[in-house]
């Protein structure tokens, strides 16, 4: 039996990937794991609910969108710019991490996670939220609601979310331009 494949090219963490033959029916999560050894996006439910598996898609206008890799085929990402959780921190020429992203740093400072299984998804979700706030700042009173709504879909089985929430709120409040007077 042969599996039908199609050629796939895309950009992941600012590097061109492909052209490479990938099974037509392969999900993005499997592609990241099996072809690229990018194992940071977590397989939680595999059915689009927990959002542990999400990655960022950088759209043409520079805005960011969160996509679930467990339920989205690898070929959906053809030609697109993807950022996985491995692509958030700054790295030196040898690939060693030199500086975490502000969201990652905030989660560390707030002790936001315990087992960490959900964390790549939260890093992704919070990064997309910050990008949205940069484009469309919200009023201070609305902030708590906006954070809850944006990250509501991310499931964490350990923490009760409070420290994730506080980390994001803290980061939003100390990043200029995200909150309107």
């Amino acid at each position: 039996m042969t599996i039908a494949t199609r050629t796939l090219s895309l950009t992941i963490n600012d590097e061109a990937v492909g052209p490479i033959d990938v099974p037509e029916t392969m999900m993005m999560q499997d592609f990241l794991y099996e072809y690229l050894n990018l194992t940071g996006s977590r397989m939680g439910c595999g059915q689009g609910i927990c959002h542990a598996c999400t990655v960022i898609v950088e759209k043409g206008d520079g805005s960011l969108e969160e996509m679930r890799t467990c339920i989205t085929g690898a070929h959906w990402f053809a030609g697109r710019k993807v950022r996985t959780v491995e692509g958030h921190a700054k790295r030196d020429a040898n690939g060693a991490i030199t500086q975490l992203s502000p969201v990652q740093q905030a989660f560390i400072e707030h002790f936001s996670f315990q087992c960490g299984y959900c964390t790549p998804g939260f890093v992704t979700g919070a990064t997309v939220l910050l990008d949205q706030l940069k484009r469309n700042p919200v009023r201070r009173e609305a902030l708590e609601g906006v954070i809850s709504e944006a990250l509501d879909r991310h499931i964490c089985r350990c923490t009760g979310y409070v420290r994730y929430f506080e980390a994001v709120r803290d980061l939003v409040l100390r990043t200029p331009g995200l909150v309107k007077a």
Partner: protein, 425 residues
């Protein structure tokens, strides 16, 4: 000559005005509530009827409308967005001030069957055009049951209707045109099950209120009985024998679908999800069988049934197929399966899905764009949420996908246009 003509015109106008006045005053309204109902039920009788009333109220699905999510039981308040404005369901708990606690037996009967409440005419969002066919015994039972509930001190909400729709008395005109004087559902010569099924369908479960299209005056169009209608932007499908067969149901599967809300044809969504949730899952096996027998026009539910043959696939252009297949594999197949087989207990199959077999593609298109929330079904079943793809797919991609799915698995012509999809966004 001129004077004669003037006189004639005036006479006609006068008679017209008199007639309209008579209608408005309700002089032409015919109550189907008989005299004996004026006689109150004894406490003993009331007590004896409560259990039956609970079942009748479930079969008539009263609760779904007379409660809000998280609201006080039977206290009403559910909004109905009509083309004319918003109407709220009312408190039918036995609270004497806000509910029906001070209503007599006859007043209750007249509200349910004539659409005339203690405080004036009801709007036909209350399906009295169907409940008119209820037996007096069943209405008594519901009355007794409701009176046995806890009274809820919850005030009714004000309707938002423009003039002249806000004049309740104006419904005399609607009633004149749209209320049948015949109240029987029994057809001589048909089986007991068939007749019970008809009573369930037409009176208790009031299926026609959604599945029969409405005429110009918003009454049920009897000539298209149960042939499907548009309702709040979705299609309530044709549930005649032909319609059910076309969706892939046989009488046995249909009866169990009304109980469980899930079958190879898909899972109940929208208002039918609530109907299963509040009502049909609790129907007795006999009643489910009767309803199915009636809708399939059988004397009784058969022991065995052969499912209708799947529809013949219809060809689509190579361009549509390639666009749709890519989309399907990219965003549908992980849950619905490459072959459209779904995942038991988690995701509905598409290859046998009823939505793909409807002449109108609107339900399918809406679901592709907006998704479906997670839903719990009877017996520990639950379907995972379906994400909407409005943000990920272009109108063209949705149209291609919809056409391809419908042609392949639903046997429908690829008639969905890009415009049609755009209008649904």
């Amino acid at each position: 000559m001129a004077r004669k003509l003037l006189l004639a015109v005036l006479t006609v106008a006068f008679i017209g005005a008199l007639a309209a006045g008579a209608v408005f005053l309700g002089l032409l309204e015919r109550s189907v509530v008989s005299r004996e109902i004026e006689q109150p039920l004894t406490a003993e009788q009331m007590k004896g009827l409560v259990k039956r009333g609970a079942y009748v109220a479930v079969a008539a699905d009263c609760y779904a409308c007379h409660v809000t999510k998280g609201g006080a039981p039977w206290a009403g308040g559910l909004p109905f967005e009509t083309p004319f404005g918003t109407i709220y369901s009312t408190n039918i708990s036995p609270d004497r001030e806000h509910g029906i606690g001070a209503w007599t037996r006859a007043e209750f009967h007249r509200a349910v069957r004539d659409g005339v409440g203690k405080n004036g005419h009801l709007y036909p969002a209350m399906p009295y055009a169907s409940y008119r066919k209820l037996t007096a015994g069943d209405v008594d039972a519901v009355y007794a049951y409701l009176m046995s509930r806890e009274p809820m001190k919850v005030a009714n909400r004000e309707n938002h209707l423009p003039f002249p729709m806000n004049i309740r008395q104006g419904l005399t005109f609607w009633n004149l045109v749209n209320l049948s004087s015949g109240t029987g559902t029994e057809v001589a010569g048909r089986s007991e099950a068939w007749n019970r099924g008809r009573y369930l369908t037409d009176a208790l479960a009031h299926c026609g209120e959604c599945h029969t299209p409405r005429n110009l005056t918003m009454g049920m169009k009897e000539s298209a009985y149960l042939q499907g209608a548009e309702l709040e932007g979705v299609i309530a499908p044709d549930i005649t024998k032909a319609g059910l067969t076309r969706m892939g149901f046989d009488p046995l599967v249909f009866a169990s679908f009304m109980k469980s809300g899930i079958s190879a044809q898909g899972a109940m969504t929208n208002q039918m999800f609530e109907v299963v949730h509040f009502s049909t899952q609790y129907l007795s096996p006999d009643d489910l069988a009767a309803m199915s027998a009636y809708l399939f026009d059988l004397a009784k539910l058969p022991e065995r049934a052969t499912p209708p043959a799947p529809p013949q696939p219809v060809a689509v252009s190579a361009e549509t197929a390639s666009s749709a297949r890519s989309t399907y594999l990219a965003v549908c197949a992980s849950c619905h399966g490459v072959e459209g087989q779904g995942i038991p207990h988690v995701v509905v199959p598409l290859a046998t899905n009823a939505s793909l077999r409807l002449a109108d593609a609107r339900n399918l298109n809406r679901v592709i764009l907006s998704g479906i929330p997670a839903q719990r079904f009877p017996g520990l079943e639950r379907m995972q949420p379906m994400p909407g793809f409005a943000a990920q797919l272009t109108d063209q991609e949705v149209a291609d996908l919809s056409n391809w799915l419908r042609a392949n698995w639903g046997g429908q012509k690829p008639s969905v246009t890009v415009d049609e999809v755009r209008r649904l966004r």
